[in-house]
């Protein structure tokens, strides 16, 4: 049984051309004119693009005795509804927990996933077991990325020593370190100061972590990665300061990737000054929304290639959960939704405005991260042999974003009221048509774990270069030169 997508225009990160796409067994088997199959999807007026990959989500994430509201079922369903066919979640080991145990716990959550997924492993402490388990994680578990939190002091945060050790280990294993870049010491101290001064509303969250605090941590992580001789991926780059650090590194030839979120591209700090506490608290995430100048910086980064990937950091908490933080912004669970809206929002604010070409849209929503994660062209491509994770994109379809009609489990949407034009007609996950416009046909458990190999071409090239310029000992015959 074969599915054929007919009459559309294939749009990839580097090509735009008319062709039909034939799918069998969950993979693309043919691309060309006049194909036929048992099932036909009409793509007239549409673009056939690689399904989106969201490399930054937190589904069913444990938090203060509860969990983030979207799990792998509702999360992947929301993603598919918006054209995203794969997510990468973060496995977060507890204090002294084995990485392998944690991975097992995380894996247990995925049984109802509607789309494919993978994991980044977080390094939340450092000891010999972690050092050893990293090898197993990479070589046996198919995970080639390690996340480091430079904030969340007393919880997930690691210090420079730990990060540097882990980055060096990543270099050996051919893995890619990632960082949440905010100076956790300063955030903690500022938080205490603001609370002490009675500045306890949601806007205090933003005050506690201004752009300079993110810029500093980004800059620091880059230096550590450079000294360790490993590429670096900076998650949720939200501001010019962090972007500047990334640009400055890249301009020296360093291999650093930045990931702006769709939220930071389109929403700004004024949200926190809303008189409605709930409105403001629902937007509390780290880093917080910034002003328009920072938005301009992020868009320009996507245009010029200094930023590589648009993600969401989808971590949805209900209004009720958010209200844990009434009277103390530090207790507001950090996170917003976005999985369902990332692609329509980016298309509307990026492609329709002329900031991005369609090909760049594909690159930053799918292909670039597939390459970075070393799963290209299985994912992120429209090529024979690739997984049929596809979105048939209707550039004319329109809607107004609303919590009322969303797939996510939560009771609000930070993009509420935004008019988007450009939506999926169909979303396919390994050939299965999970979405047909507003009709949801997801299959619980259809989603599979995607293994990822280490040692990308970039890792290897960087190691070669670092070996070439490594310190060389000066040979001397005695002290002084003539001998002591």
């Amino acid at each position: 049984m074969a599915t054929v997508i007919k009459n559309g225009t294939v749009v990839t990160a580097d090509l735009t051309y008319k062709a039909d796409v034939k799918i069998e067994g969950g993979v693309i088997v043919e691309i060309g004119p006049n194909l036929s199959g048992t099932e036909t999807l009409d793509a007239t007026g549409c673009y056939i693009m690689p399904g989106g990959i969201d490399p930054h989500v937190h589904l069913e994430m444990p938090f203060m005795g509860t969990y983030s509201a979207d799990d792998f079922e509702s999360g992947t369903r929301a993603g598919l509804a918006g054209g995203t066919t794969m997510v990468v979640d973060f496995c977060l080991p507890g204090p002294d927990q084995s990485l392998l145990d944690a991975l097992q716990m995380w894996d247990n959550k995925t049984s109802r996933a509607n789309a494919d997924y993978s994991f980044h492993m977080a390094i939340t402490g450092w000891n010999e077991r972690v050092f050893d388990e990293m090898k197993t994680i990479v070589q046996d578990k198919g995970i080639n990325t390690f996340k480091h939190f430079m904030a969340y002091k007393g919880a997930l945060m690691v210090n420079d020593d730990e990060m540097f050790a882990s980055f060096q280990r990543c270099a050996e294993l051919g893995a890619l370190p990632m960082v949440h870049a905010e100076n956790g010491d300063v955030v903690a101290s500022m938080t205490a100061k603001l609370l002490a001064e009675g500045n306890n509303g949601p806007e205090g969250h933003a005050y506690s972590r201004p752009p300079e605090v993110e810029g500093e941590a980004t800059n620091r992580a880059i230096m550590l990665a450079d000294m360790a001789g490993v590429p670096l991926y900076v998650v949720h780059t939200s501001c010019e300061q962090a972007h500047e650090a990334i640009r400055r590194a890249r301009q020296k030839g360093m291999r650093v990737y930045g990931e702006p979120l769709i939220q930071h591209l389109t929403l700004d700090e004024s949200e926190y000054f809303n008189k409605d506490w709930d409105h403001a608290a629902r937007r509390v995430m780290s880093p917080p929304f910034r002003n328009k100048q920072h938005q301009d910086s992020l868009w320009a980064g996507l245009q010029s290639g200094s930023l590589s990937v648009v993600a969401t950091d989808h971590c949805a908490f209900t209004s009720e959960q958010k209200r844990f933080g009434v009277g103390n912004f530090a207790k507001i669970p950090n996170g917003t939704g976005g999985l369902e809206d990332r692609m329509p929002m980016l298309w509307t604010y990026g492609v329709a405005t002329g900031r991005l070409t369609m090909n760049e849209f594909v690159a930053v929503t799918s292909t670039n991260i597939a390459k970075i994660l070393n799963i290209y062209p299985k994912k992120g491509a429209v090529l024979v042999g690739a997984d049929a994770d596809l979105v048939v994109w209707d550039p004319k379809r329109s809607k107004t974003i609303s919590a009322k009609t969303q797939q996510s489990s939560i009771d609000y949407n930070v993009f509420e009221g935004k008019q988007v034009t450009g939506l999926p007609r169909y979303t396919l996950t390994r050939g299965h048509v999970a979405i047909e416009e507003t009709t949801v046909r997801t299959q619980e458990g259809h989603g599979q774990f995607v293994k990822r190999e280490p040692f990308t071409a970039v890792n290897k090239a960087l190691s070669t270069w670092k070996e070439l310029v490594a310190p060389r000992k000066v040979e001397r015959t005695g002290i002084p030169a003539t001998g002591v």
Copy 2:
């Protein structure tokens, strides 16, 4: 009759995989395992890559009553010997010459071309005929790029007014303006000053056009393109100052491409201080070679994507021709060779050192420029349907570059003595095996003109954006507000 390249690894700008490649009628007809055909090329241990595209050559260029020594025959032969399967030359209309007449003259030179070619059209003056002919050039002649010389005062140079008019015309036509960016007024003035001071040796050429002079012109061209609402391509970016201007523009989201030459990446200004006049004069080109810091900047640009394409500005003059300038560096014909050596030099100094991945090598030697020139994937790709312009690259083959063994007509080589590892085993031009290691089997007249359509995705996106942010008139009811 089909040719199959077997046992190799296909390497493109974004993929590396084992596959055979089958060619019929000059195009790729199949890519996959276990292919067979009438002719088999063994690619064991080799990479099958898109043939190189050199977008910056001057073959049989008229100069002071003579011509640059390599014509379309020897030039394309040299290119093929080094893995380059397409060149783009510059059509240079004389004073008041019709663009169409000039194009005819340039076309006449190509009858013996061994590989495919195209033209950039130079705008060397401005009037209504030029304005009108630009449309014909784009719409009928298949040329979507216009070159502007900001130097060569009294000859090819255009002023800001002319450039701005031409850039605006390019925006309308969906074409891409290019610039040779040096401040021609300053170069002319400095040249006169140096000669007056007796500084007449080849090193005076370098003194007359230091990096700041190139940086200024680059910066100016970028502003003009931005105001005109059109992308810009800066040829032969040789220094940090020009690169900085490009980076600064890109960081604002401007669409600017920079093209370093293999010479500037690997040779430095010390060549001009050679005590041998001939040695120094043979390296005279514009911009001149720079110091090591500038080289580092250019390499980093290729790594980070702020520079897009590696070219040669191949414009070979014999030692005898160079000696026109004895006693007056301003009369030394500007130009060096490079067509044959670009790819082996870039591989050796770029890929083997770990500065670039193989995929990045393909991108900067072929794929990027194919996209910029809007001939992708006909050129620059290993895809079914693409022209079989391919190089089977043997990463182990080695040689020492020498004028004695080169294809170029001239009597020296600026890379003389450089050891390169990484050379073509085969080079194919539209399926014809023109090169098999050291054996040359080029066919005179095999090369064809490659037409290029205007309105790339980037042009269109930029126009959309510029329209969106265009000045809006303030509606007023009188003067003053209450009416005069």
Copy 3:
């Protein structure tokens, strides 16, 4: 007869201390405790500072058959009322006019000046007479600065060739070139385009010359000055782009000064969108007002020293004169007032906010430009022997700026309605108390021309350095090395 300022605190560019100041014969004769004289001025609660120097004014400037409304009488009176004790005007030779003739014409306007003044000489064309007269201007006429207009095409504008020649001449003469930095070709072309599109209101003026256009010209002038080996002074630096070019130059050790205007520091582009044509037209000046980000950039430049001087470009036209441009913004006379308001506005928005220290206030309103113009410590200082150009500054005095109460001849004020705190209690011009709070006691004709010597320490140092790094000829014995 001696005047003593008692009970105040002397504030200079680098000192703050309690002292009385005694004045005789127009100069400071003693500074110290317990001084006495025939006249006493009480400075209790006040700061005794060097009088302001406004290095950028156009008094009685010829324009389209009329003149800018403030002449040397009303202009210097306005300056004194605001604490400014010296102005520097621009002598603008007509087409082919002798510099010396023009200077004579400008000198004729000054007979009623109430405060001291000097001139910058404009270079509005280039020929041998200009070359020769520059020497006379510097050596006999006491003028060490030459202004170059990169805009006003067809009128004052000079091209790169002319500027470069003039800059080199300045280097020889030890003079300082100045530039009005906007790309005149682009401004002219944009102006025509906007008018053709019906965009003829005052906002069109701003649209015709966006920041990139100023940044480009600034960058170009800097390169020309660097190649000529002479320092550069950029007048009315209004935007980040121009400031960035200045910073970038300075960061390479180049000697470049930037001069923001008080208007650009405190007013923004929204003024041009006012529905009242008069309101908008009264703000038409070049460069136009910019947005808040540009303001932030300018303030930071004053804080860090990358910008050196705050001026006004005072060139006041009445509303009636402004209305020449109804229906065609290009005919609106360019210029606004500011002489009277510069110091109170800068104090209020700079010192009272903590952006600047009091010492920095003195530096950027007086001392820095006195040094640049080589008239320090005669002007710009509170030192024995210095001219008694002083302002007794009352940091508590407040007023609301209004055209109704101003000294300037025009019928409006661009700062109308701004509340300022910090105003002169007394302003003294060479010892004469011209202002006592709101009482004006200026003396027509009291003002004298201030001669300025060339070859500042900075000019000399730069010349030394440029000689040290000048191109050196490579000595060769033959061609080739072995002889031809």
Copy 4:
């Protein structure tokens, strides 16, 4: 009894003029023509300048059971011999030592000082006693600067938390935090790695702390200071990376000062590759010498004002002491001399080359730091009432630097063999002529402690600004807006 310096030219940070200078009771009592006194010093052909202030020395510094070889006697003698009339040393409390106790210990070393001195207090840990004692140090002990070591892990190093607490305390007290900026974690880790690899020679010291490591720490300290609302002084800025961080901060209006050392301005990393272990080890200091590009950056910083002060970090260890580190570079005591050579070296390489004017020379060797430390114009000035710490500088006097003729106690000189032109004819410390060319007439115990008041104008201005832009709480009436 009065001393008069006759026939010289006074050169200060902003003035150059002919005058005699009369001294009585250790202070300047008169400046003017034709002065007379009981003692006359002939300054014919010389410049009378403020004596140098070296704000960064370590005299008799405890180290591994021994002490740095120059104490307050030989150190101040060396300084005077080179025109430096004041030094500022660092008081380094031991683990858990009281700041006050440590200060007492340091004070005890000064009894034989030949010139005036002051102390910076180091914060080497954090607790409530430190918090409290900082107030005493500032308010009672006359010390307004606190040093923080971001390197020397396990010894002097403080972490971000401690630094941030201390910086905030400095803000309250009106004090100035200083940092030694290198990432101590990375240095420690790299050191262990290099030693493990057998890279144990002096060059390993440089390898262990490359420019990126310094740049990172500088950047981090700047962010911490910005968040704390306090200016920052970065000691021994040695490289472009650190300088870039400083420039970037200043360009945002932050109040950050950078201090290059004369060693980093004139010596480079090639010293560490010397085949003579002693030669290399004698140059071991932190940060290490860098390459020529970094030197260029530092010089440009002095020219443009992005760097403020030239110091020495004088911390002299004998060759014997240096040899503690044979076989392990980490045990080589860090430090070089420089006190005697700073001014002649800077004059020779800075003023004589045209990089700096004479006035800038005075600024960066004396006046700037006097202002930063709030001891201007007592120190750093040639003004009536100022301390007669003066140098009569003979721009024609020449010598070749050599350990054989130096005042310092150690057996070598890192500037050995450098030819300098520009040396003191006389050096006066509070009126006492301590140096007359090569004759040393220092008086042991003549030197006095110089008290320094907190709350400079810059501190106050910054506090005002930070208060103005401080976070403001959003007032809300309930949750949600309508009440819960």
